[in-house]
Each structure stands twice: as structure tokens, then as C-alpha cells.
């Protein structure tokens, strides 16, 4: 997959992903401040626009960096800052290559999760986006051929979302609900799941990279 192909795949995915904005906003309202829907819509639009303005010769890493920058500034927020950092970390995996190599998806996902873990001082079990990201990354890493990956990753992410719903939020706004956060579904983890699902729906599974 070239940089141009990656950019197109991302744009197709984001077009579907923004349909989940309301759901994510509502979940964030129950556990936080309700702005995740806005972050996702404005961020996706900004990233898509940035990709449209990018040179066709851009490398996959440059494509990812453009998304990171656009997402960070569109509606700066926890999610925007964490995702931007995660994409930055992921882009390092891609190096200067003009193609995404098969099997890089898992490494990318892991680097992204680790970046968030570090910046957010958070782990799996804190009931954040990481409760979906780490299991998904592991699933992607488990089978390097990219095809099985995405479905398995979606399953793993979904399981993570469900599992973490029963936990108490330990990071971010949701943590202020203390024990009242138990039973509410994490918006960030759900966003990650919806992103993966959008990718699958928008692009043939084989294209995951």
C-alpha cells in the first residue's frame, strides 16, 4: 500500500467513522463533557482535508503525520492530543518507506497504544481507549497476514469495550465520577472500536496493510 493508497483508505474510513459522532458524544456526555462527537467530526474533517492537500508522492509516514497534525489542532482535547501523539509514534514504525509493509499494522497499533499509555499515565484496566487498543494491537500482531487481523482486532477491541464497561474509570474526566462510572461505556474505547469497524466497512479487509 502506497502513501496515496493509504490516504484514500483513511479518507474512506473517516467518511464512515463520523457517522458515529453522535453516539460518541452521548457516551462522553454520560461519563464526561460530551465533546467527543465534535472532536471526532472536526478532527476527521480536518484530517481528510489535510490528506486532500497532500502531494501524491507523500510516504505513508507523511500521510500519518499530516493526519496527526490536523487532528491535534481541529478540536484540541484529550482525545485529540492522545491520538496525535499516538499517530506520531506509529509513524516512526513506517520509516521513510514508500509502501506500508505487510504486518506493520500490528506494530503501528502497538506503538500507538504505548504512546498513549505513556502520555496518559494509563494502563489497560483504567477504562480508557487503551482497553480497546492494546487487545486490538495484540490481535493484529498475533497473525501477521493482515486479513484475519482486522476482524480479530475488532473482536478484541469490542471485548475490551465490554469488559471495561464494568470497571471504574481511573483517568481523565470520567475518573471524577468515581464508583458511579461503573457500568458506563468508555467513549474513547468505543471510538477506537468504531474506527476499526469503519476501516473494515470502507476498505476491503485485505487492504488493512
Amino acid at each position: 500500500m502506497t502513501g496515496k493508497e493509504l490516504a484514500e483508505a483513511i479518507q474512506k474510513c473517516l467518511a464512515l467513522f463520523t457517522d458515529y459522532a453522535d453516539e460518541l458524544g452521548d457516551l462522553d456526555q454520560a461519563l464526561g463533557d460530551g465533546d467527543l462527537g465534535i472532536t471526532v467530526s472536526l478532527g476527521a474533517k480536518a484530517a481528510s482535508d489535510a490528506l486532500s492537500n497532500l502531494d501524491d508522492a507523500a510516504t505513508p509516514a507523511e500521510v500519518v503525520l499530516a493526519c496527526a497534525k490536523a487532528f491535534a489542532n481541529a478540536n484540541p482535547s484529550t482525545m485529540a492530543a492522545l491520538v496525535a501523539g499516538a499517530l506520531l509514534a506509529g509513524s516512526r514504525i513506517l520509516g521513510d518507506a514508500t509502501q506500508v509493509a505487510p504486518g506493520q499494522a500490528g506494530k503501528f497499533a502497538l506503538a500507538a497504544a504505548e504512546s498513549i499509555s505513556q502520555r496518559g499515565k494509563s494502563q489497560v484496566g483504567d477504562k480508557t481507549i487503551l482497553d480497546a487498543m492494546f487487545p486490538a494491537a495484540e490481535a493484529l500482531l498475533a497473525s501477521p497476514d493482515g486479513v484475519a487481523d482486522l476482524s480479530a482486532a475488532i473482536e478484541a477491541a469490542e471485548a475490551g469495550v465490554i469488559r471495561s464497561t464494568g470497571l471504574q474509570s481511573r483517568r481523565g474526566r470520567a475518573s471524577w465520577l468515581q464508583e458511579r462510572s461503573i457500568g458506563l461505556q468508555d467513549p474513547g474505547a468505543t471510538a477506537y472500536l468504531r474506527f476499526l469497524q469503519s476501516w473494515q466497512a470502507a476498505n476491503s479487509p485485505a487492504e488493512v496493510g
Binding site: G25, Q29, A30, L31, G32, D33, G34, D35, G37, I38, T39, A72, N73, N75, P76, S77, T78, M79, A80, A81, L82, G85, R119, G120, R171, G172, R173, S175, W176, L177, Q178, R180
Partner: protein, 333 residues
């Protein structure tokens, strides 16, 4: 949604343009982004700069505390959303008078991540920074995790004191220490009666029934700790005040500053009804109210409700509160 606005996505830039048109003698924008605002005379050579920021929708917070004896600069984001690190950094450069810059803002993840990125950018340019987080909302975490609490109206005590310390020539470490001292002695608790409607989504930030109130609510509508039947003003004051007094371990003979803050739609009259009870209760407990603020100091657009903040005082804290200050929204003469 009944708002006096134009295009919702232009809301923030438009009210900021209004502020710049109204107060060119007090504030200016260093470049052409109205979301970055600094005092008209910034940078003040040799003085520690103070930069704050956070989401829009809280006027007079944050824009209103930029001025002499207060903060030097501010970067704000969309309604209830963080400014970007680039904006924070631009404010930092514009207020740097060579003595370093204090970042003083509320403890929210989005803000923390973006200000922290700007810390790195400032370091690269050789501007030393310190960070102090407002974390006064006792409803958000128990005392043991006080540093993880969210920051609400009580941060204005820190703006005022740190601003006065910077103005009198304290060093960066000293100004940061003043801010930290104030933050550690400030406690706030709020009550919400009606929600805010976000201009971009048109949705209420939370929902309450006709006769319901929520104690401990956050200024972005973050859920509180008790939802129940609307109580009388005196009962609400008691509900909010007791945890604050406990949190600050107040005893007879102590002195405090009191802030009764309106969240947006609550009439000033009601704030004074609350103040009356707070003053009476504290006085009866032998605690002196040496300074008070009643009005809208940190709002949540058109949310109905109020918060009460206490700052435990000593002579040096009180002196800093009483020092002269001036912004378009805050004057201590």
C-alpha cells in the same frame, strides 16, 4: 436552543473579536488569532509571565483574568475544549519578559496534554516554565487524591495571588510556589439546576427534571455526587459548605476568602441569598470572612447554578488578594 449567536462554529472567534474591539486599552492579540490574548503591555520586561487557558464558554474565565496583577496571557479553545499546544506556545512567547513563564490552568486532560507539549516547545526556545494546576473541586476526588481533582472557580484565587506575586517581582519559582500554596488551600463545590446547551451540537450538557438539582456538578456538566429534589437556598449552602470546611480543616479562629460564583443563568440576587447563609454559618463557627467575591467569576454558558469556594487565608495570602489588579472583568483598586 435559544442563543444570541451567528454561525455556531464562528461563535468563539466572534465573541473574542468583540472582546478585542471593546478593550483595546487592556488586551491585545499578539498575532491574528483572537484566541490568544495578552495584556496590552506584554511582555513586561523582567517580570514572570503567567499564561492560563482552557475551553471557551466560561467567561469571565479565562479571558477575564488577563491584566495587570493577574495573568499575562491566555490561549483558549472551542467551547469546553482545550487550546492547541501551538496556541499556548504563541501566548508563552508573547508574554515572556525574560523571567520565565508560569502555566496556571485547570486540571483537565486535554489542557494538560496541550500545555505539556508547549512546555517542551518553550524549553527548546530557552523559556523556562513551571506548571501549577487548579484542582479545587472537592466533589471530583476524595482528599487523598486532591491533586487529581478538576479545577473550577477557585482558580481565580490563584490567578489573583500569583499575579500579585509576579507583579511585585517574585522569581518564577516563587510565583509558582505562591500559586501552588493557594491551590492547596482552595476548595470548591457547585450545584447545577439547568444545563448548558453546546452551540455546535444544540444539545444540553446534562438533563435534570423540573424540580431536580445536582450537587457537585462540574462546569462542563460533568456529573456530580448527589442528584435530588431542589432544596432551599440555605439547605444548598449548607450542603456545599460543610465538605469545604472539612476539606480545609477549618476551625474557629481561621480566616477565609469566600467566592460565591454564579454559573451563568442564576441571578445575582440568588447568589447573595447563598452568600448570606455562608457568611452566617462561617461567622457562627468562629471563622472570619476576610474577603469575599459574589458574582459570576467562572461560568458555564447559560447553566443555572452556583458554586462556593473557600480559600484558607494567612497574612501573606490576604495581602496578595488585596493587591491592585485590573482586567476588563476584574478590578481590585
Amino acid at each position: 436552543m435559544k442563543k444570541i449567536i451567528n454561525e455556531p462554529l464562528r461563535f468563539v472567534d466572534e465573541f473574542l473579536e468583540g472582546i478585542l474591539l471593546a478593550h483595546p486599552d487592556l488586551v491585545k492579540t499578539p498575532g491574528d488569532d483572537p484566541r490568544i490574548l495578552v495584556r496590552a503591555d506584554a511582555p513586561v520586561a523582567g517580570k514572570v509571565g503567567i499564561v492560563t487557558g482552557g475551553g471557551s464558554g466560561h467567561l469571565p474565565l479565562f479571558k477575564g483574568y488577563v491584566g495587570k496583577g493577574l495573568c499575562d496571557g491566555v490561549a483558549i479553545g472551542n467551547v469546553f475544549s482545550s487550546p492547541s499546544s501551538a496556541q499556548v506556545f504563541e501566548a508563552t512567547k508573547a508574554v515572556d519578559g525574560g523571567a520565565g513563564v508560569l502555566y496556571l490552568y485547570g486540571n483537565y486532560g486535554g489542557d494538560v496534554f496541550n500545555f505539556d507539549l508547549s512546555v517542551d516547545l518553550a524549553e527548546l526556545e530557552g523559556i523556562p516554565t513551571r506548571t501549577v494546576l487548579g484542582c479545587d473541586d472537592v466533589a471530583s476526588q476524595p482528599k487523598e487524591r486532591a491533586a487529581d481533582r478538576r479545577g473550577v472557580a477557585g482558580i481565580i484565587f490563584a490567578f489573583k495571588a500569583a499575579g500579585a506575586a509576579a507583579e511585585r517581582g517574585d522569581s518564577l519559582d516563587e510565583v509558582a510556589a505562591v500559586a501552588q500554596d493557594i491551590v492547596e488551600n482552595t476548595a470548591t463545590m457547585g450545584v447545577g439546576l439547568t444545563p448548558t446547551i453546546l452551540p455546535t451540537t444544540g444539545k444540553p450538557s446534562f438533563e435534570l427534571a423540573e424540580r431536580e438539582m445536582e450537587i457537585g456538578i462540574g462546569i462542563h456538566g460533568e456529573p456530580g455526587i448527589h442528584r435530588g429534589e431542589l432544596e432551599t437556598a440555605d439547605e444548598i449552602a449548607d450542603h456545599l459548605l460543610a465538605p469545604l470546611m472539612a476539606d480545609l480543616s477549618l476551625v474557629a479562629g481561621d480566616r477565609v476568602a469566600v467566592l460565591v460564583n454564579g454559573l451563568g443563568a442564576t441571578p445575582l440576587e440568588e447568589l447573595y441569598v447563598l452568600y448570606r447563609r455562608v457568611h452566617q454559618t462561617l461567622t457562627a463557627a468562629g471563622i472570619e470572612v476576610a474577603k469575599n467575591y459574589v458574582g459570576e467569576y467562572a461560568t458555564s454558558l447559560e447553566m443555572a447554578g452556583a458554586s462556593i469556594s473557600l480559600l484558607k487565608l494567612n497574612d501573606s495570602r490576604l495581602e496578595l488578594l488585596n493587591a491592585a489588579a485590573r482586567s476588563p472583568f476584574f478590578i481590585e483598586a
